[in-house]
C-alpha cells in the first residue's frame, strides 16, 4: 500500500480547500487536496449568484462598508453567529475579491451611465458613476441593505473555481482527484492524516500530514431532496463524527429553498416569484395569498417553504412518481420575458424537465439547500477536539451564518475563510513538528480493510445499502424538515435509531471489486445516520424557533435560553444518541439581539426572567 506525506492535507478541492492550500503553498509548504471529482467539478462551481463584499462601486451600493455587511450578516443569522467571525469575514471580503481579480477572475465591471433594473416586477432607472468605470460591479441579493454581490454573469462559482484551480496548478498544489478519504488517523489528541480509497482502482492509500483540513462542502445528500451535488454527502464529516472527540456545531440549522424542480431538485431562482410568478396546487389554484394575505408568493424563503409544505400535508399536493409537488406558474409573464430575463429558468425547464414554461407549469417542491452546521472550529479554523485538524467553508461551523445564511455569503465565505484559515495553518505548520506512530497508522489501515471485507462478505448482515440510506433520508424528510415539532422529531429520532442499527448490518449485493459504487455508499452510511441523529436530536432539544429552525410548538426566538450553539459529539461507538453540549453563540457582541426587520417578530428577550429554564 502506498503512503504519501504532505505538510497540509486538504479533504476537498472546492474553493475553501484550494484557497487554503494556496496560502500554505505560498508560505513554502507542500499541500495536497483529495477530491471525489476533478477540482473544477466541485460543488463550489454550481453557485451561480455571486459573492458578497462591500466594495460599494455600484451606485446601488453607495455608502456600503464592512459595518453594513456585518450588520446584515448578524441579522440574517438571527443572532446565532459568532460576531467576531462575522466581523473578520465582512472586513476581509473586499480585499479577497480584489485578490481574485488579480489572479484572473473576470468579474463583471461597472459600466457608467443610465440603465434599468427590476424590483418587485416594476422597472426603475439607475445611473452608474463615470469615476467608477471598470471597477468590480455588484448585484442585488435578498436580505442585504445594498447591492453588494460581486458576480461573473451567471457563473460566479464556476469562474472563481477555474481561477483558484489555475492558481493551484501554478503554485504546485497537487489535486488527487477520484480519491475518497474514508477514515481519519488520530489518537484522540492529534490528527495525523487519513486513509483514502482510490476511485480509479479501489485500493487504499495512506496520507500522512502535519495539518489536515476538512473542506468537503455541505451534506445535503442525507436528505432525499436537495439542491446539493451528488458528492455533498457528508463523507468527510463522518470521519470527524467517528473520532468521538470532534463536535459538529448547529447540525439542526438547515436552509430550505422553496423552488427546487421535481425530479432532481435543481434550483429555479426566486426571481420567478419576484417577477410575478405564482404557486398553484393540485387543482391549479393559488394558495399562498390565503396564508400570507399581504406578501403571498413574495414572503421570505423560509415562510414560503413552510406554507408550501403545509399545503401539501393538507393533501393539496400533486402526486407524482417522485413524490408530491406543487406547480410554479410563470406562463402569464409571456414568452419574451421568460426567454429573456428568466433565460436560465427557461433553460433548466427545457433541458432537465422537457417542460416549456411559456406554455406549461413547472413542478416544484421545497428542498434542502444549505448546511449552516458542520465541523465546529474556532475563529482560526482549528477544529475542536484534535490538534492538527482544521475546517473551512460549508463543511465547517466557523460560524458566520448562525441559523440562517444570506445569499452570496456562502460563496464569499469559501475564499475568505479559506484565506484566513490557510494563513493560520501556515503558522501552525511553521511552529509544529509531528511524530508519526506507525502502529497507529497500520492499525487504522487494518481496521478499514476489515470494514471493507465485512461489507463484501456480508459478515454483519445483508441489509440493502440503498434501502437503509433511503430510510435515513425519509426519516429526516418527514421529521426534520421545514416544520418541526416535538412529536415529529421524537418519531424521527426513534426511526433514525432503528436505521442506525440496520446501517451496522449492511452487506453488499455486488462483489465490491475495484471502484465499486455500492461499497462507496456503504462505507459512509453508518456515519451519515449518526450525523442525521445529531441533526434531529439537536432540533428536538432546541425548543425555540431561530432562523431556519422552525418549531411549530415553540414559535418564538428565545434569547433567554437558546442564544447558544449546539455541539454534538458521538462519544462512544455503541451509543445510540449523540451527546449534546452547548456554548454561547458569541463572546463578542457588537450588535445585541434585536428585531431582524423581516420575518416573524416574536422574541423572548434575554432579560425576560419569567419562566426561565
Amino acid at each position: 500500500m502506498q503512503t504519501i506525506y504532505t505538510d497540509l492535507l486538504v479533504v476537498g478541492a472546492g474553493l475553501a480547500g484550494e484557497r487554503a492550500a494556496v496560502e500554505a503553498a505560498d508560505a513554502g509548504f507542500s499541500a495536497i487536496c483529495l477530491s471525489l471529482v476533478p477540482a473544477r467539478r466541485s460543488h463550489s462551481s454550481a453557485a451561480q449568484g455571486g459573492m458578497q463584499a462591500s466594495l460599494g462601486n455600484s451606485v446601488m451600493g453607495e455608502g456600503d462598508c464592512p459595518d453594513v455587511h456585518f450588520a446584515d450578516t448578524v441579522k440574517g443569522s438571527d443572532w446565532g453567529c459568532d460576531q467576531e467571525v462575522a466581523r473578520m469575514f465582512a472586513d476581509t471580503a473586499p480585499i479577497e475579491m480584489r485578490r481574485l481579480a488579480h489572479w484572473g477572475v473576470p468579474w463583471n465591471r461597472v459600466v457608467p451611465g443610465k440603465s434599468i433594473y427590476y424590483k418587485g416586477g416594476k422597472k426603475f432607472d439607475k445611473v452608474e458613476a463615470e469615476d467608477k468605470e471598470g471597477l468590480i460591479m455588484a448585484r442585488s441579493f435578498g436580505g442585504t441593505a445594498k447591492w453588494r454581490t460581486c458576480y461573473t454573469s451567471d457563473g460566479t462559482g464556476h469562474a472563481v473555481m477555474c481561477t483558484m484551480d489555475n492558481r493551484c496548478a501554478e503554485v504546485g498544489v497537487e489535486v488527487h482527484d477520484k480519491m475518497e478519504a474514508i477514515s481519519m488517523i488520530q489518537d484522540g489528541d492529534t490528527c495525523y492524516g487519513v486513509v483514502a480509497r482510490c476511485l480509479r482502482t479501489g485500493e487504499l492509500t495512506t496520507y500522512l500530514s502535519k495539518a489536515t483540513m476538512i473542506a468537503s462542502g455541505g451534506f445535503g445528500r442525507i436528505y432525499p431532496n436537495t439542491t446539493n451535488a451528488v458528492i455533498c454527502d457528508g463523507g468527510a464529516h463522518t470521519m470527524c463524527v467517528e473520532s468521538g472527540v470532534v463536535p459538529m456545531g448547529n447540525m439542526e440549522a438547515v436552509q430550505f429553498h422553496p423552488t427546487g424542480i421535481v425530479p432532481t431538485d435543481i434550483l429555479v431562482t426566486e426571481g420567478c416569484r419576484g417577477d410575478g410568478g405564482t404557486l398553484l396546487d393540485v387543482n391549479e389554484k393559488r394558495f399562498m395569498h390565503e396564508y400570507e394575505p399581504e406578501s403571498a408568493e413574495l414572503a421570505s424563503r423560509d415562510v414560503v417553504s413552510r406554507w408550501m409544505t403545509h399545503h401539501m400535508r393538507e393533501g393539496h399536493g400533486v402526486k407524482s412518481p417522485y413524490g408530491d409537488h406543487l406547480w410554479l406558474d410563470i406562463r402569464h409573464l409571456g414568452e419574451e420575458h421568460i426567454t429573456g430575463k428568466l433565460r436560465e429558468v427557461y433553460e433548466i425547464c427545457t433541458d432537465f424537465l422537457g417542460v416549456n414554461p411559456v406554455h406549461q407549469l413547472i413542478p416544484v417542491c421545497p428542498t434542502q439547500h444549505y448546511s449552516m452546521g458542520g465541523v465546529r472550529t474556532n475563529k482560526d479554523g482549528a477544529a475542536y477536539g484534535l490538534k492538527g485538524l482544521f475546517a473551512a467553508g460549508e463543511a465547517a461551523c466557523w460560524d458566520m451564518h448562525g441559523f440562517n445564511r444570506l445569499g452570496g455569503n456562502s460563496l464569499a465565505e469559501t475564499v475568505v475563510a479559506g484565506g484566513i484559515v490557510g494563513k493560520k495553518i501556515a503558522e501552525y505548520l511553521e511552529g509544529t513538528e509531528t511524530t508519526f506512530k506507525t502502529g497507529l497508522i497500520s492499525d487504522e489501515v487494518k481496521k478499514q480493510q476489515a470494514r471493507i471485507d465485512a461489507l463484501r462478505n456480508c459478515t454483519n448482515g445483508s441489509e440493502n445499502v440503498f434501502k437503509v440510506r433511503a430510510a435515513m433520508q425519509a426519516a429526516l424528510h418527514k421529521g426534520a424538515n421545514i416544520f418541526r415539532t416535538h412529536d415529529g422529531l421524537t418519531e424521527c429520532v426513534a426511526s433514525l435509531q432503528e436505521t442506525l442499527a440496520r446501517a451496522k448490518n449492511v452487506g453488499l449485493r455486488s462483489d465490491g471489486k475495484g471502484v465499486n459504487p455500492e461499497l462507496a455508499v456503504a462505507l459512509k452510511l453508518e456515519g451519515q445516520v449518526k450525523m442525521s441523529l445529531m441533526l434531529a436530536y439537536g432540533a428536538l432539544m432546541r425548543t425555540e424557533s431561530r432562523g431556519s429552525h422552525n418549531r411549530e410548538d415553540f414559535p418564538a426566538r428565545n434569547d433567554r435560553d437558546w442564544l447558544n450553539r449546539t455541539l454534538a459529539y458521538w462519544k462512544n461507538p455503541t451509543d445510540d444518541l449523540p451527546t449534546l453540549e452547548y456554548e454561547a453563540a458569541t463572546e463578542a457582541v457588537e450588535i445585541p439581539p434585536g428585531d431582524r426587520g423581516y420575518g416573524k417578530s416574536e422574541i423572548i428577550s434575554a432579560d425576560d426572567k419569567k419562566g426561565k429554564k
Binding site: V37, R40, R41, S42, S45, A46, I95, M97, R98, R99, A101, H102, W103, P106, W107, N108, R109, V111, G134, L135, I136, T152, S153, G155, H158, A159, N166, R167, A169, E170, V175, D177, K178, R200, T201, G202, A229, V230, V262, P263, T264, S320, P321, Y322, I348, D351, F352, L353, G354, V355, P363, L508, R509, S510, D511, K513, G514, V515, N516, P517
Partner: protein
C-alpha cells in the same frame, strides 16, 4: 402506459481479472421527466449496484457525466429519455482512460493540459491588498468569461478525429484555454510565448477543421471561432518568425 426502455450499457471492470468488456442489457419503465441521471441511478439501485458512472452536479454545470449516448458524446444529466428512442446505447467517452463501465478519467487529462498550456495568468505584478483593483472594461470581462465557460466534460476531445489519431493533441478544450488567456489583458505573455505552446501539430496546426467539437459542446462554446482565431494569430506569428530570421 409508459414505454419500457431498453438500455445497452458497456460493462468492464479493469480491476477484476475475470471481467471482459461486453454490452449488457437493462430494461426500465420510463417515467415523466426522466433523464439519464434518474435512469442510471435507478438501474444501479434496483438492478446492478456495481454499475459505474459519474454524476456530480446533475445540473449541466460541472461536466462529470460526459458519455457516448446513441453514438454521440453528450452530458447524461441533461439528456431526457423522451428525446431518445426506446433502445438506448451508452458507451464511455473514448480517448480518456477507462475507470470502469461508463466512468473515465478526465481529471488526469485536463491536469496535464493545465501544465502544457500553463493555464494561469502570467504577470510580473504583485498583488497589493491596500490598492483599488485594476480596472477592466466590462465587455472584456464578458469576453473572457465566455471562454471560461468550458466545463471540461471532454465531449469535444472525444468527438475529435485528431485526438483519436494522436494522443498528444491538445484538443479544442486545450486550445480554447490558450485563447482564454490570450484575450485577457492581465496575462503578459506575448504571441511568441503562445506560439511556443500551440504553434505546432500538437496544437493549432494539428486541427483538421472537422469541427465536431463545436457540434457536441454542451455549453455551446464558440470553438470554431476560437480555432480560426488561433490559427490566424499563430499563422501570422509563424510568418513573422520566418522574416525575422
Amino acid at each position: 402506459m409508459s414505454r419500457l426502455l431498453k438500455f445497452n450499457i458497456f460493462r468492464f471492470n479493469p480491476e477484476d481479472n475475470l471481467s471482459e468488456p461486453h454490452m449488457e442489457e437493462f430494461v426500465l419503465e420510463e417515467a415523466d421527466s426522466m433523464t439519464l441521471f434518474v435512469a442510471l441511478n435507478r438501474i444501479r439501485e434496483e438492478q446492478d449496484p456495481s454499475l459505474q458512472f459519474d454524476f456530480c452536479c446533475r445540473a449541466g454545470i460541472c461536466g462529470s457525466c460526459g458519455m457516448v449516448i446513441n453514438g454521440r458524446p453528450g452530458l447524461a444529466c441533461h439528456t431526457k429519455t423522451k428525446d431518445l428512442p426506446g433502445e438506448i446505447t451508452l458507451l464511455p467517452l473514448p480517448v480518456y482512460k477507462l475507470v470502469g463501465d461508463l466512468s473515465v478519467d478526465t481529471g488526469s487529462w485536463f491536469r496535464e493540459m493545465y501544465t502544457k498550456t500553463e493555464s494561469w495568468i502570467h504577470t510580473e505584478k504583485v498583488f497589493d491588498p491596500n490598492a483599488e483593483e485594476e480596472r477592466m472594461d466590462n465587455q472584456k470581462a464578458v469576453e473572457i468569461y465566455e471562454l471560461e465557460r468550458c466545463v471540461e466534460c471532454g465531449c469535444c476531445v472525444a468527438a475529435c478525429a485528431t485526438s483519436r489519431l494522436r494522443e498528444d493533441f491538445m484538443g479544442a478544450a486545450g486550445l480554447n484555454r490558450v485563447a482564454r488567456f490570450l484575450v485577457d489583458p492581465r496575462d503578459q505573455r506575448t504571441d511568441d510565448d503562445y506560439y511556443e505552446i500551440v504553434g505546432n501539430d500538437m496544437g493549432i496546426f494539428g486541427c483538421m477543421g472537422l469541427l465536431a467539437c463545436e457540434d457536441v459542446c454542451p455549453k455551446h462554446l464558440p470553438l470554431q471561432n476560437q480555432l480560426g482565431f488561433l490559427r490566424r494569430k499563430m499563422g501570422i506569428t509563424s510568418l513573422k518568425k520566418i522574416f525575422k530570421k
